[in-house]
Point group: C2
Chain length 148, copies 2
Amino acid sequence: MAINEAQKALQKEAIPVGAVIVDGASQRVVARAHNEGVEDLTALPLPLRHAEIVALTQASISLCCPRLDGCDLYTTLEPCHMCFAAISLMRVRRVVFGAYSPQQGAISNGTNVGLNSVPSVIGGIMEDECGELLKAFFKGKRDQHTSL
Amino acid sequence: MAINEAQKALQKEAIPVGAVIVDGASQRVVARAHNEGVEDLTALPLPLRHAEIVALTQASISLCCPRLDGCDLYTTLEPCHMCFAAISLMRVRRVVFGAYSPQQGAISNGTNVGLNSVPSVIGGIMEDECGELLKAFFKGKRDQHTSL
């Protein structure tokens, strides 16, 4: 489902990252979002409209709750520092991600220090499928530049 | 000006943190915001509505620009991981903060790794004035608990 969301970002020429949040108790999907997804967050500047932030916002509205204890977040890409800290502030229980982000990923770059609540993390699930979307996107961008 | 914003948060019983953004070229104030400030960001969950995020949003709207190159952000408290990464994503030039946040501050806890663009940082300006507001707020909270 998160990969499907990432494909929606791709159709808008945004970086293909998708995120889904599931309420652990009911197993209900409470958010599905993609990078630069605008629902409810039109005011937030574009560089901050990451799939995870949009999903956290949707889930909070969906559950009528400012915190997401007991919720699990699935994302196609390892969250950046901003998103991982936001996930922690929202008290998400668990993060499952696809492709690793060695340069900008919060887990790869060790940001556990300075967070009040650290969710459990599982990385590398469907890593190739998630990574291929990103590779194709950035290759397309490079090819565009080369042909200019 | 940022301290004045922090006092506004206090009046709303929110954690007293204030932030101001100045456009370096024109020296114009393009945002002044406080913790849990709601203008333009009502959808964003409360735990993410930090003074800095609200200020980044205001500045982006004020300048009609998704990035804030050449802007300086002043905040009464050392930014957390989420805010410092957001400041970096928005390409803010410089961060000036008052009180240090040894437990949760991004600079104190070394988050420079994993960020594409790191602003220059000056900490400890009017540290006592900024810190006193926070100490008084949390002392008040503890006293409330003790008296229950």
